[in-house]
Every structure is written in C-alpha cells, then in structure tokens.
C-alpha cells in the first residue's frame, strides 16, 4: 500500500509547506503572546513609579516657563533631551546667564550616568536592528533602568526587550504629557514668587537619593564644597571642575575603604 503523498511528490511538497507554515504561525502566535505579556508587564511595572515621574516632569515644565521658554520650546526640549535633571540644570544656568558651553557640558556631565545604565542593559537589548536599538536607547531613563534591572534579576525567562520597552515607553508618554501640563501651568506663575529656588531644592532631593553609602557622601561633600570655593572662576567653570574632583574624591574614598577591608 502506497502512501497518498507518495503518488505525487508535488502534493507531498505542498503538504509539507502548508504544515511548516502552520507550525511557524503557531510559534509566531506564541511569540507574539509572549511579547504582549512582557510588554504589558513592563507597563504595569512602570505605573507605581509614575507617582514620582509626573510631578517631576510637571516641575520641569513649570521651570521651563519660569526661564521664559515658550510652550513649543518646552515640548521640543523635553522630546529632544528627555532627561529631567539635566534640563533643570540648564534652566538654572540660564537664569544666572551662564555661557552656552557650560550649559552643554553641565547637561552632559549630569547625563553621564546613562552610559552606566546603557552598559548594564546592553546584554538584554541585543539581536535588534540598529533603529530598534536607537529607539530603546533614546527612551532610557533612571526609572526605566531601575524597574527593568530589578525585574530582570528575578525573571530570567522573559522577553527582556519587550518588558523594557513597555516600562520605558510608559514613562516617556507620562513624562511628555506632564511636562506639557507643567509648561501651561508655569506660564501662570509670576516671577516674583522666586520659583527659580525650586531648582536647587529639586537637585537636593535627587542628591540625597544618590547618597547610597559612605563614598557617595564623600563625592557629594567634595563636589559641593569645591563648587562653593571655585564659584569665582570665570564662565562658571568651577561647576565642571567641582564635579570631576567630587567624582575623584568618591573614587578615592571607595578605594581606601576597599584597602582597609582587605587589611582587616
């Protein structure tokens, strides 16, 4: 007895193609479900963090209005730069009339931390096209990094990139909407309220959040005190100098601590 497909190789070929197609489709459906599941897990992971993101983005919008940026300029900066602390730093420097190059350098230095985040997330964001990598990199924020790294540590078998994309895009959308609202509100606040004082206050909260151990405290004290002493340097270069010396002081304190640990 001959098999039906044996009679006609063309039929066998057709059946084979059809079967592979169905199997691939099943795989694709499974993969898509996995993506949806991890994407929405990322979105859900980001939701509690929005309690911190929304007011901070609104503050950045209000701050932009307080230094005279129009609604359109605020939105443009928020989309192009998308890094709140550096945007606030630029506003503070604008309000005291700092030169252009100091604003650029200060913003870049504050955003140096992203290189560390980028290096940590890199293994999870591979096998993607250049454009996809660029999009995911652009959306990188402190919060997206924190949520993703925390989640990846306890969940191995997930689509990391989809989780990250879900978290990062949620934060991005919430940030932009809140910045727009802040910009509209900020236009209503008169300059006599001294809202420029909100810049150092917001940095203060961010700074204390960054003080995780003894060496980071050393870095902050050194950076802060040197910035005060170097305030008289031309073109506000003291700020850049103080930051680098503060980093060096923290680094030295950590090395010293490690050496003492070995000695004991």
């Amino acid at each position: 007895m001959k098999k039906w497909s044996g009679k006609n190789p063309a039929l066998f070929f057709l059946f084979g193609t059809w079967y592979t197609h169905i199997k691939n489709k099943e795989k694709l459906v499974y993969k898509t479900m996995r993506m949806n599941k991890d994407f929405s897990a990322g979105v859900r992971g980001a939701l509690p963090i929005l309690i911190g993101v929304i007011p901070f983005a609104m503050i950045s919008g209000v701050a932009a209005a307080s230094v005279g940026l129009t609604f359109f300029e605020t939105l443009g900066m928020s989309v192009i730069v998308f890094a709140g602390a550096s945007q606030l730093a630029v506003f503070q420097l604008m309000s005291v009339g700092s030169p252009w190059i100091i604003m650029v350098l200060t913003a870049w230095i504050i955003n140096l931390r992203f290189t560390m985040y980028s290096a940590t997330l890199a293994p999870y964001l591979q096998k993607l096209s250049l454009g996809q990598k660029a999009l995911l990199a652009y959306m990188l924020s402190d919060q997206a990094f924190g949520i993703s790294v925390g989640h990846f540590a306890s969940n191995e078998k997930i689509s990391h990139r989809w989780f990250y994309f879900g978290a990062a895009s949620t934060i991005w959308v919430a940030w932009q909407i809140s910045a727009i609202i802040g910009s509209l509100l900020g236009a209503l606040v008169p300059a006599s309220w001294g809202l420029d004082f909100a810049f150092p206050l917001s940095f203060m909260a961010l700074m204390f959040a960054a003080l995780s151990d003894h060496p980071t405290v050393v870095a902050a004290l050194a950076g802060g005190i040197i910035a005060v002493l170097a305030k008289g340097l031309p073109y506000n270069t003291g700020l850049v100098l103080a930051t680098f010396l503060g980093i060096a002081a923290g680094y030295a304190a950590e090395s010293l601590k490690a050496r003492q640990g070995v000695a004991q």
């Binding site: 901070f56 503050i59 443009g76 192009i80 998308f82 602390a85 550096s86 604008m94 252009w100 604003m103 650029v104 870049w108 504050i110 955003n111 140096l112 931390r113 992203f114 290189t115 560390m116 985040y117 980028s118 290096a119 890199a122 250049l130 990598k133 990199a137 652009y138 990188l140 309220w193 001294g194 004082f197 909100a198 150092p200 206050l201 940095f203 203060m204 909260a205 700074m207 204390f208 959040a209 960054a210 003080l211 980071t216 405290v217 870095a219 902050a220 950076g223 802060g224 005190i225 910035a227 305030k231 700020l239 103080a242 010396l245 503060g246 980093i247 060096a248 923290g250 680094y251 950590e254």
Partner: protein
Amino acid sequence: MSAASLWLLFVVIGLGTFLQRFLFIYLFGKIEMPDWLRRALRFVPAAALAALVFPALTHPTGHLDLSLHNFRLLAGLGGAIVAWKTRNVLLTILVGMILLWGLELAFGV
C-alpha cells in the same frame, strides 16, 4: 538667548545625551566598559548635583553670603532635612519654598 541658539542648545545636548544612552548598547560585544570607568560613573549624580546645590545656597546673588540674612541658605537647609528624610522632590520643593516665602514675609525688607 535667541530662539535659534536655544534650539541649537537643545539639539547639541540631546545628541550628546543620546550617544551616552546608545554607546554601550551599540558597542556590546565589541568593547566592554572598563572597570574603573564603571566605578567612577557611580559618583556622577552625587558630585554633579551637590556642585549645583551648594553654590545656589551660598551665593544667592552671586556673592558668598553665609549670614542669617541669606534666606535661601536657611530655607535650603530646611529643605535639605526634608530631602534627607523623604527623598521626595515635590515635598522638598514645597517645604523649601514655604520656608523661603515665610522668611521673606517675616524678616524681608
């Protein structure tokens, strides 16, 4: 600042920031971040933010002022306690601003 130089400022800061975000995702497998750099980068937020905060409190009008007439320094110290205890941006701003307004109302000229 003219509108053109403002937009140029955004684009230059934005491009540099994008490169910082993209660099090691792109370089993965090609170049690893050296250990000393990773260790040094950990101190960037603390050092950079302190360098912004301290002079803003000690030099409110561009000159060093450590007297009790420097309301921003006093209000800032109050804000620092809130920041230290709560690490909450909104609460720190609220308390700091209220302290500043209160001091200006009570002792201001």
